[in-house]
């Protein structure tokens, strides 16, 4: 560890750590521009660097993007990274109430706290945690996803049926593409691109960004209203009191779910949001600018980013595209990532871990002074801001796969999102359904193939059973009060 710091503190490594963090923040802020694309573009540049320096910079882009992702979510309701989609719900509301500063501030602090805790967990418990993570098989995965799906009720607005309807639509859209088991195409309508499923980023940008612009154009709010209300840039003591619990819980949830290969960093943000709303003394505030609703998910996605590095660095199992890229970068440098990494290349492992401590500090120092600057974006007149956001959405959607079809998807979902907003159908449950649908279907069917169609596999394995019990508990806690009320009403009659 100490040798790790001596590596990370070498001037050249510090410099590249800084460059990585700056670039990461930047791509995080720009919607559509993901960390994966950036790492791929920059990989050739790292060829001349030593492997440690290269991985320090590329990892900086990876976790730095999690800091920047929340910025556009809060300011203009477009998730900068897919993992910041939940932050839109309350972050954007806070911005509209003139509290963009505290929202950005708390998400920077939440990212910092979760990032640092995540690095510590990775450094001290990496290998045993990775052993734990692979205990997660298809049945456990299916039950976890099922549990996540129960959170739909916490994501909606006032109406539970509307939230459920949206989740159902999301689940259905998630089935577009080749069947995961026998690869028969479903709902592709002859469009080749749809064979691998629908791209999530244009859908998110449409539902949130474009829809918001359309409905604002209709409303014509005067920017001065927002302008007058911007008071502070940093979260107050009360904000801290409200969100510290959310940050710590978010970090825990994010890290543990991040550990499991294949889970990604989006699911924990939804779980964190649901838990915070459930635990909150004022759940009605959620969706109207509750700071916990920003702090929890932002903490969760950062911790998850660190969590995904555990199976990557200890076993060489890439958790996602970005992880696969980091692995590829190391392979090009002749460093094979696998169980032998820590013994064969201790400099790479510990140098990278130590640089992440430093990187998180850098990111905090980098992001806090940017807040007043970002808040001023809100003062840009709408006739300039709206075309600019639309342009960002279009470029961002196109840049992922260089496909025009993604622009069509963006516009279709933009219009759909506008209508949904008008008739008060919440978009978040749709996104949750969309994200969970393919994972749920795949792991559910894999589990049943393993058990030869025997459903008891979900109940006899302890981790899976525990998830299911919690899920059923959540379900009952939703409907039980409803039954009681009905029952009382009947008795009163």
């Amino acid at each position: 560890m100490i040798s790790g710091f001596s590596i990370a503190l070498a001037p050249v490594n510090l410099l590249f750590c800084f460059i990585g963090c700056v670039l990461g923040t930047l791509v995080g802020v720009l919607p559509g521009m993901g960390s994966a694309t950036t790492i791929a573009l920059l990989m050739p540049i790292t060829f001349r660097l030593s492997p440690v320096t290269a991985i320090i910079m590329l990892a900086g882009i990876f976790y730095g993007a999690q800091y920047g992702g929340s910025t556009t979510s809060i300011l203009v309701n477009i998730p900068g990274e897919a993992t910041s989609v939940v932050t839109c719900i309350d972050g954007y509301q806070m911005a509209r109430q003139g509290r963009a500063g505290p929202a950005l501030g708390i998400s920077a602090f939440a990212s910092f706290i979760a990032g640092t805790l995540g690095v510590m967990a990775l450094a001290f418990f990496g290998p045993p945690l990775a052993e734990l993570a692979i205990k997660f098989g298809p049945p456990e995965f299916a039950s976890l996803v099922f549990l996540s799906l129960m959170l739909v009720g916490y994501l909606g607005g006032k109406s539970l049926p509307k939230a459920l309807a949206m989740a159902a639509i999301g689940l259905t859209i998630g089935t577009v593409g080749q069947d995961p088991v026998n690869i028969q195409p479903r709902f592709v309508y002859g469009i080749l691109e749809f064979n691998s499923g629908m791209n999530i980023v244009p859908i998110l940008m449409g539902l949130f960004g474009i829809a918001e612009i359309l409905s604002n154009v209709e409303r014509i709010i005067k920017p001065e209203v927002l302008d007058a209300k911007i008071k502070t840039f940093l979260p107050s003591l009360q904000d801290w009191r409200d969100s510290i619990g959310a940050i710590l819980r978010g970090a825990g949830i994010g890290f543990f779910i991040g550990l499991i290969p294949g889970s990604g960093a989006i699911v924990p943000t939804f779980i964190s949001y649901g838990i915070e709303k459930k635990l909150s003394k004022h759940p009605e505030q959620f969706g109207r600018g509750a700071i916990e609703g920003v702090a929890g998910p932002e903490s969760a996605n950062n911790a998850a980013a660190q969590g995904t590095l555990v199976p990557l660095l200890t076993f060489g199992i890439p958790p996602n595209v970005t992880g696969a890229l980091l692995l590829a970068a190391l392979m090009i440098h002749g460093v094979r990532v696998g169980p032998l990494l820590i013994t064969q290349h201790p400099d790479v492992f510990w140098g990278c871990v130590a640089s992440m401590y430093l990187g998180n500090v850098m990111l905090l120092i980098l992001n806090l002074p940017l807040i007043p600057l970002w808040v001023r974006v809100l003062k840009v007149p709408y006739y300039l801001l709206f075309p600019l956001i639309t342009l960002l959405c279009l470029v961002g959607s196109y840049s992922i796969n260089n496909s025009l079809l993604d622009l069509v998807v963006l516009i279709v979902f933009g219009v759909a999102g506008y209508l949904m907003q008008k008739y008060e159908y919440p978009p978040a449950p749709l996104v949750l359904g969309l994200i969970l649908s393919p994972i749920l279907e795949k792991s559910f069917r894999q589990a049943l193939i393993i058990s030869r169609g025997d459903f008891s596999i979900f109940f006899t394995r302890p981790i899976s059973a525990a998830f299911l019990i919690v899920a059923i508990g959540l379900l009952l806690s939703h409907f039980f009060p409803l039954f009681i009320r009905r029952f009382r009403a009947n008795v009163a009659d």
Partner: protein, 330 residues
């Protein structure tokens, strides 16, 4: 301000001069502009790694920059279709596993077949193998087969109709195993965690198992193609040793290489120039080291008409297999 302007103009002049020098230097008229090399997967995948290992020499040999573009979608088919419809002038080519353009095209709705491509040069194969976790009870593949005769067994595949799973399916039928479940995953990366965690008995992997075998977390039971990465490679049989009666068409499927292709109808001199430059690039020490590390074979016999013939063999066998299992192409 003036200084900045002068600097900009200076840079522009330099660019123009240097580019005209490049154009003038080559007596060969082709290539005169950058070549776009497409990859049908997101960055960081297997094919991407291969390209990055040879790219700089390849582009030096050609004398023009080779720009890598990613066009993912439908398991590589979106990109394949794009290439098949591109102008056959050599400026638009793709690096792809030949299994995609000869076999996988049959599983999706597209009129394009391997006949729509020019096979420039196949240069590396895959490391296809069957692995178990280190502490699994089966020491050899035969032991697993005996186990699977008596008890329900499972194996994971990176997709039901991938070339490895077709071969495995043949083995299962040949051994007469009835109680074996095939658990489909999406791509080889997803298979490592479940086989290590003991959720599936075996996994059909493609190269990403190499460091885990060397690190003592996984063991190879059977090698389809490539090199055995285990500490004791002598103990691991190859497909042809374990099953000498395995038909050639199946072997063609798992020994199918990764290589460069372009649209049908590319002029012969251009194809030659590309193949020649690529041959130089893949015979470089750096590239060979890369292959050795990832235990991939260097393939040199997949060029021109030869490649076409082998692709046809694999495609026909694959089409017959799809028909036999009742896969309906919509």
């Amino acid at each position: 301000m003036g200084a900045v302007k002068r600097l900009v103009i200076g840079v522009l002049v330099m660019l123009i001069v240097s580019s005209s020098v490049v154009f003038a230097a080559g007596s060969d008229p082709w290539p005169t502009k950058p070549i776009e090399l497409y990859i049908g997967w997101p960055p960081g995948g297997n094919v991407d790694l291969v390209v990055r290992a040879y790219l700089s020499t390849f582009s030096k040999e050609l004398g023009v920059p080779v720009v890598v573009n990613y066009k993912p979608g439908a398991g590589g088919v979106v990109c394949a279709e794009y290439i098949a419809r591109a102008k056959p002038d050599g400026y638009t080519i793709q690096e792809v596993s030949y299994s995609i353009i000869s076999m996988q095209l049959l599983t999706v709705n597209t009129p394009i077949t391997y006949n729509d491509f020019t096979f420039i040069m196949g240069h590396t194969g895959q490391n296809f193998a069957v692995v178990v976790r280190q502490d699994a009870p089966w020491k050899t593949f035969k032991e697993w087969v005996e186990y699977a005769r008596k008890k329900p067994a499972t194996y994971g595949v990176p997709g039901v109709y991938t070339s490895q799973s077709v071969v495995m399916d043949w083995i299962i039928k040949r051994e007469g195993l009835k109680e074996v479940s095939v658990v489909p995953y999406q791509g080889g990366n997803e298979l490592i965690a479940p086989v290590m965690g003991g959720h599936i008995d075996l996994a059909l992997v493609a190269g990403n198992h190499v460091p885990l075998c060397e690190g003592g977390k996984l063991r190879t039971l059977l090698q389809f193609s490539g090199e055995v990465p285990d500490p004791d490679p002598a103990k691991v049989p190859f497909l042809t040793q374990a099953y000498p009666d395995c038909p050639d068409s199946l072997r063609a499927m798992v020994e199918i290489p990764v290589g460069l292709t372009g649209p049908k109808g590319m002029p012969a001199p251009i194809v030659q120039k590309l193949a020649q430059s690529l041959r130089k690039a893949v015979n470089e020490e750096g590239y060979k080291n890369f292959l050795k590390q990832s235990k991939r074979p260097l393939v040199t016999n997949w060029e021109g008409a030869d490649a076409m013939k082998r692709a046809k063999m694999a495609t026909d066998a694959y089409a017959a297999y799809l028909k036999q299992v009742g896969f309906v192409k919509k």
